[in-house]
Point group: C2
Chain length 143, copies 2
DNA sequence: AAATATTTGTATGTAGTACGTACAAATACG
DNA sequence: CGTATTTGTACGTACTACATACAAATATTT
């Protein structure tokens, strides 16, 4: 082996740190949620629809910072699993309102519990102050 | 519209903030690198091979926190574009050493410049202290 | 020295995420 | 009323990521 992993100037790139942190969180999340069969994005969608029944395509896309095509790919997959259903709006017949099915609600409840554990795993490495600081700094990137 | 984007308890999830920050960085990166035709992962691989010529599959996977299959998918794509080439190691004939081609080196140089601009965009929202703090906190997640 | 285990590279398949584009229907606006 | 915008749909493309199985080379154990 010509080089066994010495430091590289790549380490000083903030973007890479964010990507690696994201990857680590993603991996732990996937493990935690393997039995529920939900990804981060999927449970985010369920969560949002649970919070805002009647939301539509554009609402989800905006809330989750995704484009419409990506959003609908998620929604269609969840609909196929009968976790949500879609009913046309009466006031605006272009819109189709999303609601959780009872199975979707049950899965969301289990998902929220699992997210609690996941978040505990993630946040236990920070003090309360550090956590607040980290959230504040991260928000500046996407807000 | 039944709900126009009020706050949700989703906002208090650190994992989601990391994901959204990652998404924002990813989007800006993609714009910045559209003309170079390189993704974050791809330039990370080029960068690492530039820093450590002779590295092999496993070295890259470890350095970038990816599994071997993902790593090789990246390497193969870059090899197809003649940005790197692979030569069998003499000391260990299982290993195949990666090196940049001259075209790969040129592209890496341009990429490093573009990363400089990208990093400037990303970091200009933080003071020097905040930047150090953010890097320190992020590292705790994946290290 | 021989048998076994590990490492390394290869090849395939699946899934999720993300975006672009083009199209049709409904609504809003001038 | 005609036009522009919004909304949903239906394609297609690309990247990332992981699992698995297989072969070859090397390392380890007996």
């Amino acid at each position: 082996m010509p080089d066994s992993g010495g430091p590289s100037d790549l380490d000083s790139i903030l973007g890479l740190r964010i990507r690696r942190a994201h990857g680590a969180v993603q991996r732990h999340f996937a493990e935690q949620f393997a039995d529920l069969g939900l990804t981060q994005k999927q449970i985010s969608v369920l969560w949002l629809i649970g919070d805002r029944p009647g939301a539509a395509q554009t609402d989800l896309a905006r809330a989750l910072d995704m484009d419409r095509a990506t959003t609908m790919a998620l929604v269609h997959a969840l609909e196929k699993r009968r976790l949500l259903h879609r009913t046309p709006s009466q006031s605006d017949r272009r819109r189709i309102a999303f609601k959780l099915t009872s199975e979707g609600s049950r899965l969301l409840m289990r998902g929220k519990a699992a997210i609690g554990e996941h978040e505990a795993w993630l946040t236990r490495r920070f003090s309360r102050q550090e956590l607040a600081q980290l959230e504040r700094l991260l928000e500046r990137i996407y807000a």
